[in-house]
């Protein structure tokens, strides 16, 4: 049963991932990406990590992709989709393709050797729980956790600063005319 589910989910994930790059319309691409992310979340459930699955849906599907679509909707998609970005992209594309497929072939053929070289990994015996995860995050990995949050904060402030400097170009007067609508 598990194998059938895995085949179904990974099949749909692969097809939708392919659609992301094949679709002409950016909105269709974004939606295919949403489908792909949902399938991956389902794969996490299959692997016994429901917390990760829910976070995946929360962050990627619920927040990141919604913002992507928000931005795409502001553009004139029908015109943009006709334009070709990255002219002369064929050569770099082929190079990246060769490198990636080489990596994959190495991984597939040498995986048993690599596994042996890495030594026995830790096997998780208990059912992973939210409590265990939070203890791990706030005790063992407290410093990286805090550093990550500070980096995110810096990125956030940086984004606000960048957005601000562009907004200042528009005269303040016209903003006042609209009853000072600030967001």
């Amino acid at each position: 049963m598990e194998r059938e589910f895995f085949l179904l989910l990974s099949g749909v994930a692969t097809v939708s991932a392919l659609l992301v790059i094949v679709a002409r319309n950016p909105v269709h691409s974004a939606l295919a990406l949403v489908a792909c992310l949902v399938q991956i979340a389902a794969l996490y459930v299959l692997l016994g990590a429901p917390f990760l699955a829910v976070i995946q849906i929360f962050v990627y599907v619920g927040a990141v992709m919604v913002l992507f679509l928000f931005v795409i909707m502001m553009l004139d998609v029908r015109k943009e989709s006709q334009r070709r970005y990255l002219k002369h992209a064929l050569l770099p594309g082929v190079v990246v393709l060769v490198i990636l497929s080489g990596e994959l072939i190495v991984l597939l053929t040498q995986s048993t050797k690599l596994h042996a070289a890495m030594g026995p990994g830790q096997t998780i015996t208990t059912q992973p729980s939210v409590e265990a995860l939070s203890l791990l995050l706030f005790q063992d990995f407290l410093l990286p956790f805090e550093v990550a949050s500070v980096i995110l904060l810096v990125a956030l402030i940086g984004a606000v600063v960048l957005a601000r400097s562009e907004a200042d170009v528009t005269p303040v007067r016209s903003r006042k005319d609209h009853g000072e609508v600030r967001r």
């Binding site: 429901p50 829910v54 929360f58 927040a63 919604v66 909707m73 939210v130």
Partner: protein, 328 residues
């Protein structure tokens, strides 16, 4: 074979949930129109059936037999899947919602939920966050300015209010020490969370109203300035799917309010089965949502954003801080 047999109770439960949820909007539309009418001192629907009881059926037949119109410039595929996308999340949420303690039946213990996930609350918040995709798709695929404006508004609104909504339940999770809904309910034995977490409840209730896009936060479909918002171009059965989704979101919110803050199925009188008591509370909350709709005017857009970011978000953070201090 045994694997297949263990699936049977789950499938039966799913069938029951889907069936009930599909039929539930029928009485709810009748209720909403009646409440509206009585608040405005008029009788409301009276012609079809006793006190208009069969009015929803007549409405349903009307909607199903209407022409299903797709605008010429619309993105046909997205236009037709948008109502379904809007409908799926409210159904999915019910996977994690328990309606009572496990009961004994046919010699086995049957849990009164499809799956009592140990990340249940997080799952519910995440899945209800997906609900916005239906709105986005409908607005964008219609290729009409009212629809696009409506869906832009609703994206901004849903993202803004998801944050205080998520933060406001952290206090509850801290008290229960778990994100499993059945444990959250059993942690309220004796004292409901609404007494301990009044700020949390207030923030959750208000941001829930905004997430469901009901008055006073129904700017995405403000009929005064946007036609009907994101579903302006929809008609017939596709429109009725959007209505269905909207009512189900209200039901989900009523369930969450009761389970998280009003003790779920606990604290009822002894002669009532716990599940009935839970459903009574849920019914009360649905009634409150409808009552509010015909009592409040609509906020302006900048007021909406100010309430979300400048009032609810700090309040919910304060709530976490205070509960943390009290618990330590």
């Amino acid at each position: 074979m045994e694997n297949v047999l263990s699936l049977v109770p789950v499938l039966i439960k799913m069938a029951i949930v889907v069936g009930v949820l599909l039929l539930l909007p029928l009485p709810l539309t009748w209720l909403e129109r009646k409440i509206a009418a009585h608040i405005q001192q008029r009788p409301g629907p009276m012609r079809v059936g006793w006190h208009g009881l069969l009015q929803p059926l007549a409405d349903a037949i009307k909607l199903l037999t209407k022409e299903d119109h797709i605008p010429a410039e619309a993105d046909r595929m997205l236009f037709s899947i948008a109502p379904v996308v809007a409908l799926v999340p409210p159904f999915l949420v019910f996977v994690a919602i328990p309606i009572g303690d496990p009961i004994q039946m046919f010699g086995t213990e049957i849990a009164l939920s499809i799956s009592d996930l140990n990340v249940g609350l997080l799952f519910i918040l995440a899945v209800s966050g997906i609900g916005v995709f239906g709105t986005i798709l409908a607005g964008w695929a219609s290729n009409s300015k009212y629809a696009v404006l409506g869906s832009l508004r609703s994206i901004a609104q849903m993202i803004s209010y998801e944050i205080p909504m998520g933060f406001s339940v952290i206090g509850v999770v801290m008290l229960a020490g778990s994100m499993q809904l059945s444990q959250i309910v059993s942690s309220q034995q004796g004292l409901w969370n609404v007494v301990v977490q009044p700020i949390g409840f207030f923030v959750f209730f208000v941001s829930g109203l905004a997430e469901a896009q009901r008055i006073p936060f129904d700017l995405p479909e403000a009929e005064g300035d946007l036609g009907a918002g994101y579903h302006t171009e929809y008609s017939g059965i596709r429109f009725s799917l959007f209505m269905l989704a909207e009512y189900l979101v209200v039901v989900v919110l009523a369930f969450l309010n009761v389970l998280l803050f009003f003790g779920g199925w606990l604290g009822g009188p002894a002669f009532l089965p716990a599940t009935i008591w839970l459903l009574l509370k849920v019914g009360f909350f649905i009634w409150v949502f409808m009552w509010l709709r015909f009592t409040f005017p609509r906020y302006r857009y900048d007021q909406l954003m100010a309430i979300g970011w400048k009032l609810l978000l700090p309040l919910s953070l304060l709530n976490i801080l205070v509960s943390g201090f009290v618990m330590l």
